[in-house]
Each structure stands twice: as C-alpha cells, then as structure tokens.
Amino acid sequence: MKLSREQIVNRLQEMLGRERVITDEAVLKASSIDRFRKYEDICGVYTRPVPAAIAQVGNEEQVAKVLHFMNENKLNAVPRTGASATEGGLETAVENSVVIDGAGMNEIIRIDTYNMLATAQCGVPLQVLEDKLREMGYTTGHSPQSKPLAQMGGLVATRSTGQFSTLYGGIEDMVVGLSAVFPNGQIIRVKNVPRRAAGPDIRHVIIGSEGALCFITEVTVKIFRYMPENHRFYGYTLDSMKTGFEILREVMVEGYRPSIARLYDVEDGAFHFSHFAADRCVLIFMAEGAKGIVEVTGQAIEAIVSRYSECNAVDSRLIERWFTHLNWGPENIARERVEIMETQNIGFTTEVSGCWSIIHEIYENCVRRIRDEVPDITMVGGHSSHSYLNGTNMYFVYYYNIVDCKPEEEVMKYHDPINKIIVEETIRLGGSMVHHHGIGKARAQWIKEEYQSSYYVLETLKRAFDPEGIMNAGTIIPLPVK
C-alpha cells in the first residue's frame, strides 16, 4: 500500500531526526523545479507535483537508509546538491517525491598534493574547494559558470564541464574515484588510481547519471598546479563563424591546448563585447600553465590566426576584464529575476556538440529556424566554448518576450519549440543534443533519437540499478506518456 505524505515524513523523521526533514510549503514548492522553470518560480506558479519532504542527509549511511526506505515503498527520490540545474533534472515529476539534499555533506576530506588528488563530499561547493586549492597553489581546473553555486556531487552527476575544459577536460576527465549509494542501499566506492584496464570503467556508469541511477556521496578529482602569473589572453574580431570554427579546429588539430578557446557570433557577442566588436564575431583564447607551455601555445595561436586576414587583434585587457565577470552567483540570479519581472523578457541556453564537419551547419540551421519559427524572439545567437580534437560545442543563447501567455504555458509556447529545433537539427546532422548541462527532463523526450541503437545499454543500466524506477523519475529516460 502506498504511503501517505504524513507517513513518509514520519518515517524520514525517524531515520534522520526532525531537524533534517523540511516540510515548509514554500520551500517544497521551490524545490519542485529548477531553473528550467524559472519563469513559473518568479510568478509563484508551480505546476509540478510538490514533494512530500526534503531530506537533508548528513552522511553516506543516512543516504543509504533513506534510499532503501524509498525503494521498499516505491517512492521517487530526487538527489540534489547545489540546485543550480537548468534542464529540469531537479523537478519532482511524480507525487510524493522526496528531494534528497546532500548540501550538508560539505567536508573537504583530503587534499593530497603528492598524488595530486582532492577528495570532497558531495555538498562541497566547487568555489570553496577551488579557493582552498588556490591558496595552496593548486586548482581543480574546473570552472563552470555556476562555480559559485554548484557542488561536487551535482557537477559529477550532470557530467559538467568548465570554462578551461579545452586544457583540463570535462569533469569526466577529472574524476579519479568516487562513492555512491544505489537505490537498494548498496554503498559502493571506486578507488583512486591513475588508470585501470580491469574491465569497463564503471566510473562512467555514475558520472552523468543525473540522479537517475544512484546518489553520489563523495568525489576524488585531479588537481593541477595553479600559475596565474603565466596567464595570457588573446582576443580577435572577425567576420564569420565559419572562419572562427576553422581557426578553432586548426589550433586543436595542430596539438595546442589553450585553456579557453571561444568563438562568439555577432548576436551573442553583442551582449559581452559591444565596446570593441560592433557587429563582428569574437574569438578568444587563454593560455595557462607552465611558462614555456604558455609561450609556445600563445605563439601558435597568434601564428594560426595570422593566416586569416579578416581577424583583427584586440587589446588583451579587454578579454581579461570580460573573463573576470563571467561566473554566475546568487546576485546574478537575483538581478535576473527583477529584470524578467520588469521586462517579461527571459533568456535560456541550450548546448550541443558536433564534429568539425557539421558544427557550422548546426549553428546556421538552428539560428535560422529559431528566428523564423518561434514567436516573440528578441535575440538568438551563440558561442562555441569547448573544443576537442574532433569537434566543438555550440552554446545557443536565446531570449524572448513572454506575450499573452500564462506562466504555466511559457515552456510549452516558447522553450520546448526552441529546444525541439536545436535537438532536431543537431541529431539530424549527427551531433549530440547535450554537451554539458545534462538531459534533465527537458530533453529526455529525445533520448532514443540521441542514443539510437545504444539506447539498449542505457535502458538496461536503468533497469539493473533502479528496477523500481525510484531514482529521479523522468530524468534521462522520460516518464511514459499518459
């Protein structure tokens, strides 16, 4: 027999103590969504089922107890740490969900500068870990825009990437070992070793699982020497995105690894660079690391860009100033709320990836179709911000005025159609519909098109580790359509 909300709360309180079980209605409503439904949140209209409680877990054993209880009673669990998700991954999609909040598990367990490892509990804010490491002359190399908000568990669960990924890689390249709890209460640990060939790399079952398979409790990541005195910035304006993609490709194919390699189109660039790049695309590089590597990387970038006469160099201080204000903290979110309320203009992003041969077409098709097909658009553009040997990402940025539309209709009228265009075009051309935000619930509807024949593996993983389907229902794998 299904438990009532009161019974769920009582049982959680017995397991964790009353102080760790949140039942305040306003907090529960706010916890039924993430930033994908920020307009509903601003308007105070909540359309998702309100969770029964938020369980603030304090250690691995508590996570195991709570998950075991929920599994036994077929209750939906939504794992959460920093709550900075943008794709609906934190939405409580079914009745009587429990949000399992790991933000209180916030101990930095060990920093090992000999083996270059940092181990942190899931609720350690990346900013805190990074600040501590920098005091010691080290860095995680991970710097997502959400750094002031995001916490280690969520970053690993969403397969996050950062602004320096072209040098350091995404979080999947940084995680050495981790701990997690599965829905049956099983606690597992993947040990810290430099490499292994003992069968499949099971870290990747967990990294990117978005709370739909397990709850990540502890993470060990690589650390790197931090040498800000060697940082070098390079900026160029240019006419076309096509040229920009070619330059990014040449830098990568010739074997250089700037920490930042970014290409902005005119529309997106206007948001950041109107003071020096009116109606032009902008190409940005940053080189960091040991002095010799930085010098060689910088020289190579300058040499490669010089082959393209349409590129004009700009003062590196313009790029440096821009970069220091790129992250998003609580103050940005508060300001954004006010602006949205006042203007009824709202912005979102959708990120995809593709090989070099298709990325420009993905960019052009998506921008053209959004302009043509979606009403009330005020801006659509984007940038490439993470490059690889084989290709790069496109980070689409779009704003629209919300016109004649109830808060609960905003996603359906505007956001879903835009996502549909981006996903359709990207998959049709052979790219991936998600680069680093996670699938969440917003893009779960296209999961089979994304995975194609390999969906078999994903579906089997889900069945094997979460046979009762209690882990973050609707995330990655969509709920059945009623």
Binding site: S274, H275, R321, W322, H325, E339, T343, N345, T378, M379
Partner: protein
C-alpha cells in the same frame, strides 16, 4: 505632444578591475576595457516615455518620441533598438570631444538641438549618471532653455483630456504630485520596475534600413564648446580623508548575551531610548 528623452551610455563600473581604478595623469580611471551600459536613470526615462506613448494611443493627438544622445560610446545596435521600440527619431549629436564630466558642455549641445524643434517638448533626462554623478545636466539644460525642471521624477502619466502630464516626484520619501505642461524638463530618478522593454527580432526587421541620425545642430560652435569645457571645474588632485572611528568587539557568552550587550551599551544610547 513631442517628447525628447536625453540618454547616454556609461562604462559599467562593476566590471572594472582594481588596476583600472588607478588614475592616469589626468586623474581619471581607465574605463577603456569594460563595456558600457545604458545609464540606469536614462533607461527609466526611455521606458517612461514609451509608456506615455502607449497610453496616448487612440487619442486624437499623436505623441512624437525622440531619443537624443551626445555620448560617443552608445553602440549602433543600441540606437537601432530604440528605433525598433518605435522611437520616431533617434538622434546622436556628433562630437569628437571627450564630454565626460562636462555637464555644461553636454547641456549646451542638447539645448542646441532642442531649440531647433518647432513644438515645445517635454524633455526627459536621467537625474544623473554613474559617470561623474554630478546631477547637473538636467538643471543646466532647463536653465539654458528657460523652462522649469522637476526632479526627481518617479512617475509621469497623461492627464486627461488635454496635453498635460501628472508628474510624481519623490522628495525624501514623500511623494508629491503636480500637473505640468510642456515645455518642461523632467529629471527621472529612482523608478522601480522601469527596465527598458526589449524589441523582438520582428520589431527590428520592421525598421531595417532606418538609421539613427548623426547631426551637428545649427548654431553649435565646437570650439566654443571646447572652451566651455576648458573653463569647467577641473580635478587637480585627490586626497583621502581619513575618518577615525572607535571600534569595539562585542563579546558575550552566547548570541543572546552578545545581542543584549550590543543593545544596552551601544544601540540604546544612540537611539536615545
């Protein structure tokens, strides 16, 4: 009714790096490396004028909106956005002079343009900008035009049925209403909920081909303006004024005792309780 809104873009000082605040030989901070933003008070003024136009729709007499700037940094894209928002004219007074911190010169240029207009206008200005922060331009402009200046305005609505405006000002937290007619300068202050609306791509397409006007109004003598600037106040030195204040650490056994000590020994006395 003719409405002229004077506006400018100014450096986004929040984006300055510490090194940028080290003044140069002319004792000015270096704002070259940060983007500009629409001065927040001017933004409110631009939106207030649009709301007036919205309210006037359907009335017999039309409202003509002119956006006017003398700054040299407003991006062309921003000026075009104002056209897309249905400003009838967007006028940029061309000048190679560095007008920052020169309110008198700015007012002279603005006045020169406004004097070329046939109809007596309602003139909106932001009460001040983050650059210079002198708050003089609207007052100087009104004086040059020989018309009243009302400041700081927080609301302006059409008064039925004639062409008067009901204007609300905020004076030390008190709201005072008055009915005014053109010509008048309204210096717009801190208005809640007045972000400038955003034009859609279709709005922008509708004004494709239209460009902001770059003009130098008749009667303007650039050399005279430069001379005015030279006579204006000049910053010759900066000195830090040190204000010593006593400091005490309030420490109790717990938070309640700490709060009690703070209240009884410090707050109570200052509040005269």
């Amino acid at each position: 009714m003719k409405v002229i809104v004077c506006f400018k873009e100014a450096p986004d000082l929040e984006r300055m790096a510490p090194a940028d605040w080290e003044t140069d030989a002319a004792l000015k901070p270096d704002t070259r490396f940060v983007p500009t933003v629409l001065n927040v008070y001017d933004e409110s003024a631009l939106e207030m004028a649009l709301r007036l136009r919205d309210a006037a729709r359907g009335r017999e007499k039309t409202t003509e909106l002119i956006a006017l700037t003398v700054d040299s940094v407003s991006p062309p894209r921003m000026l075009k956005n104002l056209l897309a928002l249905q400003y009838d004219r967007v006028v940029k007074i061309e000048s190679s002079l560095d007008l920052r911190f020169h309110a008198l010169a700015v007012a002279k240029l603005l006045a020169a343009f406004i004097k070329t207009q046939d109809d007596a206008p309602v003139i909106f200005c932001g009460v001040r900008s983050n650059e210079g922060d002198n708050g003089k331009t609207p007052l100087l402009l009104a004086e040059m035009l020989g018309i009243p200046c009302i400041t700081p305005v927080i609301d302006a609505t059409l008064a039925a049925p004639d062409e008067s405006l009901d204007v609300t000002v905020d004076i030390d937290g008190w709201r005072v209403g008055q009915r005014v007619r053109a010509p008048v300068v309204l210096a717009v202050g801190n208005v809640a909920g007045s972000s400038l609306r955003i034009p859609t791509l279709k709005d922008k397409m509708r004004v494709k081909g239209r460009e902001p006007e770059m003009i130098l109004p008749a009667g303007i003598d650039v050399e005279e303006i430069a001379a005015v600037m030279a006579r204006e106040e000049e910053l010759v030195s900066l000195k830090t004024e040190r204000q010593k204040r006593d400091t005490a650490f309030v420490r109790g056994q717990d938070m309640a005792e700490t709060a009690a000590i703070f209240y009884n020994q410090y707050l109570k006395k200052r509040a005269g309780i």
